[in-house]
Amino acid sequence: EPEVTQTPSHQVTQMGQEVILRCVPISNHLYFYWYRQILGQKVEFLVSFYNNEISEKSEIFDDQFSVERPDGSNFTLKIRSTKLEDSAMYFCASSAQPNSPLHFGNGTRLTVT
């Protein structure tokens, strides 16, 4: 069964550094998402992306965050200047069409020191 893949599985960075989290969505999916989950807490929506542009974004997704689909397969989340509170699991997800199941990757654990 096709799956969403994310790299790296764990990223450690120093406060103020830039990080790029990478995702390869399922190949025939058109809608892409980033979610964040602070340890043991709920899954929080960050941003959705369709047709090469952001569809929706949450209050968490401020100016330090950006997303990009640099080619036909990758979907990236960039955090420009990381803060301690950015430490969390970041999940990429994709779906084929509106109102259809989201398929999640296994996440990238970001640790900001």
Binding site: V43, F45, S55, L102, H103, F104, G105, G107
Partner: protein, 111 residues
Amino acid sequence: QQQVKQSPQSLIVQKGGISIINCAYENTAFDYFPWYQQFPGKGPALLIAIRPDVSEKKEGRFTISFNKSAKQFSLHIMDSQPGDSATYFCAAVDYGQNFVFGPGTRLSVLP
């Protein structure tokens, strides 16, 4: 109005018992209600989902009950097994593909 409430926060069930997790929503624009199962260190995985035109959906040991008038839906896990121990998230989706997740229920099934 975008919030999805979920209870209980944690649940302990004996092997073979029934696990019941409840969710409630306010926004009538939601029209798709999936449940996700998450094991430690893994991403949420779709377990079962329902649309509001039916009141119940069953897949194996998992059943969703949906009450449109009350704006509530629940997950029932029959014959619960230790392998079902995980965190369960309900979600509600509107046609704009906005997924709103509940806060999660940590289920522990004792052997």
